[in-house]
Symmetry: C2
Subunit: 132 residues, 2 copies
DNA sequence: AATTTTTTGTTATAATATAACAATGTGTAA
DNA sequence: TTACACATTGTTATATTATAACAAAAAATT
């Protein structure tokens, strides 16, 4: 069997839900919402999430243990991700800034280690929350 | 009571352990190792960890759910952190690069949101693992 | 069709983290 | 210096997040 090029049923169900949401979803909230579609166990959700993250359709917000759909249609793999996170309303936005990604992709520190991937999370108050 | 300026007994016990370790420690591994010192419950460890993170003595490696001592003695608060993580041996190193931190502290994206904090995790293979 | 591999379904359990509340300790101020 | 306020502790219970193990079904390959 060659490498999977399409989404399986479970992956599609989970992706549809995550894409409908404007904000990151927790795994068990996803589980609850897809139970009517037949996904009954955590593993079914986690397996779909794992694959979707691997192929870059969704990203995991590590500091929140939550999953958000990729905003960049050209993204094929989650190897350079940046997000802004509002510490008040928890709104999360993917940052798509070519200068930033170029800077980080080329970053080398003194250790001589070459990085193949990064994840950056910015925290602060979003415009709405700042003006409250 | 004024804001705590020193470490409490539990915080000191947890910090000592984390500082002795060259690599990030998991909360329950910390718990196991401090049980002889009298910390018997997860909450005692998590509370100490929370405070130590807050005051910048340790950092949480979000993608690993693990805690590492701060390498920068001048660090008073965990508001600008960067790490390199080897995906093979799991070695984690704090990155202390003033150009990087300056760049990220000054970064503004199109949303107009002002960031007060960031956490950056680089992934790859460390020198040792690359040469295997 | 036989083989191989991926995906699925399922049960159980591991690992990570917090809620709630009573008790104790410590700094501040009357 | 004692009463107040509040931070910290100890404890039990439970919530949340995630994976192990294995059998069965589905899809691609030969």
């Amino acid at each position: 069997m060659q490498k999977q090029t399409f989404l399986t049923k479970n992956q599609q169900i989970v992706l549809n839900l995550v894409e409908k949401s404007s904000q990151p979803l927790k795994a068990y909230s996803i589980l609850f919402n897809v139970q009517k579609k037949g996904l009954k166990a955590p593993l079914q959700v986690y397996r779909a999430l794992d694959k979707l993250v691997e192929i870059g359709k969704i990203h995991k917000i590590e500091s929140r243990n939550a999953f958000i759909a990729c905003q960049d249609s050209s993204c094929q793999i989650s190897k350079a991700t940046a997000f802004s996170i509002c510490e008040s309303c928890e709104k999360v936005t993917e940052i798509n800034n070519s200068k930033l990604s170029k800077y980080l992709n080329n970053f080398k520190d003194s250790s001589g280690m070459k990085y193949s991937k990064y994840n950056l999370e910015f925290f602060g108050l979003c415009k709405k929350c700042k003006n409250k």
